[in-house]
Amino acid sequence: MADKSVSPGLARDPEADAETSAARIEWLLTALGVAALIAAPFFFYPVFVMSMLCFALFACAFNLLLGYTGLLSFGHAAFFGGAAYFTAHAIKEWGLSPELGLLVGMIGAALLGLLIGFFAIRRQGIYFAMITLALAQMFYFFCLQAPFTHGEDGIQGVPRGNVLGLLDLEKTLNMYYFVLAVFLLGVFAIWRIVHSPFGMILRSIRENEPRAISLGISVARYKLAAFVMSAALAGLAGGLKTIVFQFATLTDVSWQMSGEVILMTLLGGIGTMAGPIVGAGLVIALQNSLATSSFPVTVVTGAIFMVCVLVFRRGIVGEAYALFKR
């Protein structure tokens, strides 16, 4: 191979060698962040914050694969949007409660992840990205034609229902804290996965796959496991978004959505816990502010993509870490 292809993994992991004082600051920032999120609905439009949280969870799930396993999936919209459809169908047609609806979405996304991952992990790097993109596009066409998705109309008017028969989600504040709870649970799960022995093996695959193989790790199985987990958590985010907005449409399964989640992760910082959350917040805020103007969002998104790749590969949080360490 040419020497230019021998490059370090997609991103360094700044957390690996964090010192105790840094860890303390991290805990403090996390606590501040959670406190801010608890207070947020009293200062911002709650639906806007909820959509941020859904996309932040989606980006975190995606980052589990890109940042911690080194696999760039260009098809994560299939899991996000697929779960949105599954949850919507389960709640609206089967009359399930929100928490069971989310579970159906997650299981559906995990099975879809198992299927797509099974094919995709047969190739590496750039091919992996192209295969996930192609298979997700295939799923898009499936959603376009399958009767249960209602084609171009999507599934509309999904009732929010009651969580565990107790909490009425039609009330905005209830809905907000339910979303926040699911978001925190999801991010905690990702944090646990990353900081477990399993997560260490994923990182070793990211850093040096041949070496991981030589150490006797069955890399394919670990990659597939990471892929399925990432898909399931992306599905959780998609299902949650469906309950908030009460519909599921083709937009969520389109390849543009796969691109968007990559941008969120890249902008915030690949391979950092907080990066995808920051990135998702910024991208959603940007889309929100451009929604009223006639200026095309994709031009701005694309330009940010190019700038990030050229001068800003560590992302906002990654750059902050680098500054802090100096």
Binding site: L72, M130, L133, Q137, T298, V299, G302, F305
Partner: protein, 295 residues
């Protein structure tokens, strides 16, 4: 009436021709992708956008300067190729030392900007672009009626693919290009200007995409989104063929175009996804692709 497997022969041949035409574009686009990837190790996500750009340059040349199809067939690839070379010099050349995935992400952003910009200026509706008078009309071949322009596409794209293959395999430029694909450092040490070679190669790949675009303009309408779904299909073509050989990219392009056309005859519901299904099967049987070398 004659039938093939219970299908009227006219409909069968008609879809076969549509498949061959789509295959022509798949072949030209995957050829460009393969050449660029071979040397730059970058998957050019902007290839679909450049295809659209080629068609639009042709349309704008006609609409504003009155320059017709034949000159546009040269001018559009030249302009888009030049644009590609500028992009390579300014941006892509900075990405050779980092993970190849960043090249994919950069060109993805570029595609979003180009397509978003054109959608803003020209709207989503297609613009008609007529073929020159010499290529309109149809000939009766006895067993089917062949629109002349469609026949022209198939033959012209075959010529272009063959010419590109000869350029890479039989000329001095091609020899440098192949050598630099194997070992750029060594080729540079022999005094060949490898950075220039990279720029020219990217320009060539972009020009091929633009040529496909201007050729497609009279068949499909000129619209800002004409390349955005196409690129994903072409990626699948590239995965099936493997990017190891130029001939492989060409053959796979035509073959999958025809496979798609035939699916439209026998099982129309699956015609959108048949290429992706073939890709999945190939991944199971031969992960490196039909013509690929093992990575």
């Amino acid at each position: 009436m004659t039938t093939v497997f219970g299908i009227p022969v006219q409909a069968f041949l008609g879809q076969l021709l549509v498949g061959l035409i789509n295959g022509s574009f798949y072949a030209m686009l995957s050829l460009g992708l393969a050449i660029i990837f071979g040397l730059l190790q970058i998957i050019n996500f902007a290839h679909g956008a450049l295809y659209m750009l080629g068609a639009f340059v042709g349309y704008l040349l006609l609409a504003h300067l009155g320059i017709g199809y034949w000159p546009a067939l040269i001018l559009a690839p030249a302009i888009v190729g030049l644009f590609g070379m500028i992009v390579e010099r300014l941006a892509l050349s900075r990405l050779y030392r980092v993970d190849p995935l960043y090249g994919l992400l950069f060109t993805f952003g570029l595609a979003l900007v180009i397509e978003g910009g054109f959608r803003y200026w020209f709207g989503v509706s297609g613009k008609a672009y007529t073929a020159p008078a010499a290529l309109t009309g149809a000939v009766n071949l006895g067993f089917m009626v062949l629109p002349i322009y469609r026949g022209f596409i198939v033959i012209a794209s075959l010529v272009v693919c063959l010419a590109t293959w000869l350029l890479v395999e039989r000329t001095k430029f091609g020899a440098y290009l192949r050598a630099a694909t194997e070992n750029p450092t060594l080729v540079q040490a022999f005094g060949v200007n490898v950075p220039l070679l990279l720029t020219l190669t990217y320009g060539l790949g972009c020009a091929l995409a633009a040529l496909a675009g201007i050729m497609a303009a009279p068949v499909y309408q000129v619209s800002p989104l004409m390349g955005s779904n196409l690129i994903i299909v072409v990626f699948a073509v590239v995965v099936v063929g493997g990017m190891g050989s130029i001939l492989g990219a060409i053959v796979t392009g035509y073959a999958l175009g025809v496979a798609e056309g035939l699916t439209k005859v026998f099982y129309p519901e699956a015609s959108n996804i048949v290429i992706f299904v073939i890709m999945a099967i190939v991944l199971l049987v031969r992960p490196a692709g039909l013509f690929g070398r093992d990575a």
